[in-house]
Symmetry: C2
Subunit: 366 residues, 2 copies
């Protein structure tokens, strides 16, 4: 019996066990080819099926058509999209509005400022440097002549999440970094011009970023960019201008198929609500012991953050939980506290085990 823990790491994060088992099964001989998928040419029919299959399934899950959208698989992480987006769309000093809701939004803004006129549509940081909520539509100060509006749908560190997505003014493109909650529930993806997501939280292993790109946005992309920076290259070459990160893409494809088998985004959404509510209900029932720093309407169902009465109790909790096979519960070093990352691949069983452990911890220390 393989030793497996409940892994609450924020990313790289837990993967569905059936996916890992399939990868292991095929590792030395991918579907009778006599070679590993890692050894397979990116121009081979076998790899093409993996690559195109993953892109096509992503579109299906999102309810998008391949006529309107391309799904790209790129290297360099979401941090590379932070500069590719403004470099493609703001050439010559175009305007972009950014919603500032956390660490990653800040980094995206920093890169955009190199290329254009960046306006902060809302800054959710308080005087202590905390990000405790995401803004509602009427709190956004939007420019009609911006090229795009950018927001981060889920803030991994702060533990906040948009439950209603921002609506840009007519003609302004909607762009989202969904690295930590891509495909967590059903949503209207057709409202977006670009969605990007580093895979290592909700989609697969690190090393690949999924970019859902509305094809007509190419008309607004700059010319004369380095080949690898231009979205035109990747859309036209189907992410095969050069050798893509084949193995990460292959695992993402398996995760997408697992999502489909589990019932698609509707099923993911139901399960994720149930998982998050298990924890939030427990915290709300014990307000004297647990403190939840995030405003209720902005609570993340992917990264649940909470504090205990003292930092000593937090350290004790994290250490005892680890001994009990519940790992990765330490909050981000910049904010402290505790955090459970419960992405799609975290089982209800895992969250129940955590809730049981928390109840027991309260009983002993509350």
């Amino acid at each position: 019996m393989t030793h497996r823990v409940y892994n609450f790491n924020p990313g790289p994060a837990t993967l569905p066990l059936p996916v890992l088992e399939e990868v292991r099964e095929e590792l030395l001989d991918f579907r009778g080819t006599g070679m590993s998928i890692m050894e397979t040419s990116h121009r081979s029919p076998e790899y093409s099926e993996v690559h195109d299959g993953a892109a096509s399934l992503a579109l299906d899950l999102l309810g998008l058509s391949a006529d309107d959208y391309a799904v790209l698989f790129l290297g360099g992480g979401a941090s590379t999209q932070f500069y590719m987006i403004p470099q493609n769309l703001l050439a010559g000093g175009g305007k972009a509005d950014y919603v500032r809701t956390g660490t990653w939004a800040k980094k995206a803004i920093q890169e955009a400022k190199l290329f254009g006129d960046v306006h902060i549509a809302h800054d959710a940081e308080d005087e202590q440097g905390r990000f405790a909520y995401v803004p509602a539509q009427d709190q956004l100060d939007l420019r009609d002549d911006a090229v795009y509006l950018h927001f981060t749908s889920n803030n991994t560190i702060a533990g906040t999440q948009f439950h209603e997505y921002p609506e840009p003014p007519e003609g302004v493109l909607l762009v989202a970094d969904m690295s930590s909650d891509m495909l967590w529930r059903e949503f209207d993806a057709s409202r977006f011009a670009i969605i990007y997501a580093g895979a290592q939280k909700n989609l697969g292993p690190s090393g690949v970023t999924m970019v859902v790109f509305r094809r007509d946005v190419l008309d607004r992309c700059a010319d004369g960019l380095p080949t690898m920076v231009s979205y035109r290259t990747h859309v036209e070459k189907n992410s095969l201008f050069n050798t893509p990160p084949c193995f990460p893409i292959y695992v993402v494809g398996k995760v997408l198929r697992w999502i489909e088998r589990e019932g698609g985004l509707a099923a993911m959404g139901r399960k994720n609500r149930e998982k998050g509510d298990l924890l939030y209900d427990l915290f709300d029932a014990n307000p004297g012991f647990f403190r939840t720093p995030v405003r209720k309407d902005s609570r993340s169902y992917m990264n649940v953050v909470w504090r205990l009465p003292t930092e000593e109790l937090e350290r004790m909790f994290i250490a005892e939980a680890k001994d009990a096979g519940l790992v990765g519960l330490k909050g981000h070093r910049s904010v402290g506290g505790c955090r459970a990352s419960i992405y799609n691949a975290m089982t209800l069983e895992g969250v129940k085990a955590l809730a049981d452990f928390l109840r027991d911890f309260v009983a002993r220390h509350g």
Copy 2:
């Protein structure tokens, strides 16, 4: 018994079987952590050991000191280095000399032209668009005031390889794309300012590029670049500014350890010479049947290319070889013919099997 073929693909390419077996063994539980390496935080001690171990071993194999050189593991492929190098080093219109020896050199040159004054130190393309050799030192037209001299050490498509590396003028940095022959033999790495190599040929799976970067070159890198484009970011953050491609790096680390166990670069060099000579000697012994388009002094020991008397025989050979478990022998679509990619991980046994098959083919059709 797992079905395995002899895989002569040019990249992604065959990996050492012991490496794949180790990966499979650890896939669900990496060293007792109860999680896959794909699920492990890039800030964890377990991953740090993998990451730093791979970088450190690469330096050891190259005979370089960590005081002088950093080893980076970046996403985006060698094609991303094509623009990062000039964008970092030619800001404000600096000069760079490029040796033009094939498809990938051409692509590197195209990107460099976006940033600086690019001069072709030698163009090895003939009137028919073929690249049949690499130039000697006295054929290079070098500028004393160039920032760097760039060359491609092995040309995967043409099947040519530098056996003596170019020597730049005093003060000019030497930069090499070694994507298809990195670590194939011993060489004086301390002559280089930057060596980069997409992993999927001689180092591991696709999705990561190894960059060997001389630390003092940072002094010559531009400021104000996008964070992910700046070498400063990656050297200072040890390739951990954002989540790196952890799994590809982990496999590269295992390949490096395999190289070390096999006897290091000296042993690689001996084995690669023996493998290449097996094929080239066979071709030279049968000049009426085999045609080798590459000049003898420029023959690649990584990608061996040859032609048969007719294209029909070539098609027949490739198909029959595949049926015999020798796959990936088709030449690149842009040049045709046959090609055997015999990187470090290709066994002597595999090349002997190919040589036997070729001898039999001559006997039947010669």
